[in-house]
Amino acid sequence: MNFLNNLDRRWIFLAMALCVGVPILVIGLTGYTFPETPTPLAEAFFDEVDVAGEAKGRRANVLLAFDFDPASAGELNPMAVSLVHQCAQKGHRMYFISLWPVGPQMIMDAVNKVIKVHYPEMVYGEDYVNLGFKAGNEQVIKVMGVDLTTEFRTDVEGTTLSQIPMMSGITNLEDFDLIAEISAGYPGSKEWVLYASTQFNIPLVSGMTGVQAPQLYPYFPNQLKGLLGAIKGAAEYEYLVNQWVRLDKLTGILEQAGLPPGEAGPLAAEFAASPDQVSTWTVSAAASTLSPEAKAALIEAATEPIPGEYLEGQRRMGPQLFAHLLMVFLIILGNVIFFAQRRRGGGS
């Protein structure tokens, strides 16, 4: 008891290191992740990205602001990757900017992981553009509300905006259908809410670090249409995106194979729900008319493993789980010591 009372904090550090390190190793080796149940917040985030541009009946222009740095990348990168993943699969036009000096690196990281590898058909300047970092914090947002080109004259590589095809027709924030923001502090979610979403009435969704989240919950669902907090939010969103991407791919294959849109959707949902019964689909009534190539593509799409970079969030929930359990245990232990001591103290 005396040992516990004067517990050297290094023992706690060691326990924490084990609780985080061992799951990382195990997950790294086995690839097993814990199941996620998305909360309404994550669902709202997903839906908002999903429907962007529909109101105006056009391919959506999405402004992606990556306001974080390597320090918080562990928490926020999975969100950023999933966000780009969803936008790319959906076919949104992506405009990346950052109010943090090291943000462009984070943008590049996500672009390299998602677009370059999985969507090589997307063209820089037509489907996505990296406008880079702009100093000036919320002032930049304010100015962008009026005229984007005063702050951003070139993209990150120095190409003037007039030479970038997808920049035509973009003059200010109002030309975007959605602002999606990943934030690690100031300037970040709060500034976007104050100076973009409330001022110009543009839908805003935001992912942020766990520390920031409590401050921004009040803005949901009015000023913030969707909110992802910490790695938990990232994992939920990632799960949603992965599910939807698979479904979307299946639907695409079915539609391409000639199924009417009204039938392809439900069927794809059915397939996506039970990928292990893949052999029975091909003989099921609805799919029986498919060509062998389409069937092969279908099986491929339904059973192909999700690439690792799309599972980062869910994988990080493992260490998170054990770390939290350790914290709960430590708090209980601390109190056991406290009460044992108090009883002893009270007795004397």
Binding site: I12, F13, P40, E157, L330, G334, F339
Partner: protein, 236 residues
């Protein structure tokens, strides 16, 4: 009253403050506030030079004094100068595709450049390491501080458990038996966590924020009017 050290700074403070307020209400003057902000940015940019100079001075002095830990100062200086050199002279950058022969057309932080390399392989891991220390400190702080000493502490303790468990799969696992759609669905840990965050936490945060906002307003006013001059070094 000393003109240079008191009157002029106070005048600048007062006028800049007034401009900021006026520009919020009178659209004609809205540019003025922006200009005031730009002035600050320019000053802050100059301050970088000041900061760099001070850094050099402090660490050179430490090295010349050879006091305890002067080796660290040496490391700081070497890193500072190397980074400055790599960045200023764009070491290892790839030129802009439009001007393939002009070395200086390259982006300082472009992939593959020296600056990028330092960023990617030195700065990024170091920063991430510092940040991850938090996990250890949170644990030790929680172990020490979360004692059910009184009623408030018990409330906080309970909340901590809900939030901790609710944000990992353990929470889902523990209260899986409550049907999500049923009348008690909100009692599932993961839902309870969001409820606490949205309602109690929000209410508390707002109360604190109102106090802070009023504090900021009144402090600003005091500073603008010169009632509080302590930041100019004229304490009590």
């Amino acid at each position: 009253m000393q003109i240079l050290t008191r009157l002029i700074p106070l005048l600048i403070t007062g006028i800049a403050g007034l401009v900021m307020i006026v520009s919020a209400f009178i659209p004609y003057t809205s540019e003025w506030g922006k200009i005031a902000g730009q002035f600050f940015n320019i000053l802050a940019a100059f301050a970088f030079v000041l900061g760099g100079g001070n850094l050099l001075k402090v660490h050179l002095k430490k090295i010349s004094d050879q006091g305890a830990g002067w080796g660290y100062s040496g490391v700081v200086l070497v890193c500072f100068l190397v980074t400055l050199f790599v960045g200023l002279f764009k070491i290892g950058t790839y030129p802009n595709p439009s001007y393939p022969d002009v070395h200086f057309s390259g982006e300082t932080q472009g992939t593959g450049s020296g600056f990028w390399w330092a960023y990617e392989y030195v700065f990024k891991p170091l920063t991430a390491t510092m940040f991850s220390i938090l996990a250890f400190y949170v644990a030790s702080a929680a172990f020490r501080a979360f004692r059910a000493k009184n009623f408030e502490a018990i409330l906080l303790l309970g909340t901590a458990f809900i939030i901790l468990l609710g944000s990992v799969s353990a929470g889902v696992f523990l209260t899986d038996w409550i049907p999500n759609a049923g009348p008690f669905g909100d009692l599932r840990l993961e839902n309870l966590r969001i409820y606490i965050m949205q309602v109690f936490n929000t209410a508390g945060t707002r109360a604190i924020m109102i106090g802070i906002a009023l504090g900021i307003a009144s402090t600003s006013l005091k500073i603008m009017l010169g009632i509080d001059r302590s930041f100019l070094g004229s304490g009590d």
